[in-house]
Symmetry: C2
Subunit: 148 residues, 2 copies
DNA sequence: CAATTATTATTCACATACAAAATATAACAT
DNA sequence: ATGTTATATTTTGTATGTGAATAATAATTG
């Protein structure tokens, strides 16, 4: 791969810009349609499949550090989307449960995500999207770490 | 394009996860190597080519809103990377100049970015990276807006 | 020229994320 | 049983970004 090109050194910054833009738009979109932020929507989407998981599982599940998960759950609990529950056998741990409201909204979140996903992939063939998936999955997994 | 797949609705969330991971790692990398955050490094990289630009130009140039640019410049000025200067003909505007220190570091930033870019693109062919570029550029430009 | 509108940047209140340190509890080892 | 080590989460302090509102100045228009 890769004879150096003029744009080479901007790949990383391009990722930053892409994220900033999409995150901003998605936040506005989601806030006006269902009153949630993207982070909270993502957590809801995860919890719909892992209701009652531990805070730590949520953190790993959505790719955040523990403190970020703590704060996210705090804010979501404050707005009535989830509630915290104790873990029987381990007083350190704490579980997260969807409330009625939270469960109700998680369907809408999935719908909105679908809209966004479709829009984002619109101009690309399946084969091209396969490449994009592989790229993003590799980043999310930290595949590049060994090459630094 | 695109028969719906099981992963479809996760594209957007995948982008979030990829960003979170890379941003975190890059921040740690950059902080320990040259003592800067990714955002400040990106600003420095831009300013190296647009020294003395307006705050608004910086914001547009790196894809941020005006308040974010204001804050970023404030913090960078506090750590001696840039200084603010007045605009002759327009008392509303304010210009940003690299300091010695800022200019000195911008070279190192470019080097570090190159390392990251190479690592990120490592497992992909030029043709594949072309697709990735087109994808990210489209996102950064908001091409999907019309398809929502 | 005065009134209105537009531009430029900042301030404010908030949400998000991080690393490092602190807390609390569990598990293990001596 | 007691002291050490590991685990789960929270707290603390900082950086980052947002939108809405504000301030200050410029430009336009009547």
């Amino acid at each position: 791969m890769a004879i150096a090109r003029a744009v080479d050194r901007r790949l990383f910054l391009l990722l930053e810009r892409a994220h900033t833009r999409v995150f901003r738009d998605a936040n506005n979109h989601l806030k006006s349609s269902i009153g949630l932020t993207v982070s909270q929507g993502g957590a809801l989407f995860f919890l719909n499949r892992h209701d009652g998981c531990r805070i730590g599982d949520l953190a790993v599940g959505i790719g955040l550090g523990a403190p970020a998960a703590t704060g996210l759950v705090d804010r979501m609990a404050k707005s009535g989307l989830v509630r915290r529950g104790a873990e029987k056998d381990d007083a350190r741990a704490s579980r997260v449960y969807l409330t009625e409201k939270g469960r109700g909204l998680s369907g809408a979140v999935a719908d909105e995500l679908k809209i966004f996903n479709d829009a984002i992939a619109h101009d690309f063939t399946d084969a091209e999207m396969e490449t994009v998936y592989r790229f993003l999955t590799g980043l999310a997994r930290g595949d590049y770490e060994g090459k630094l």
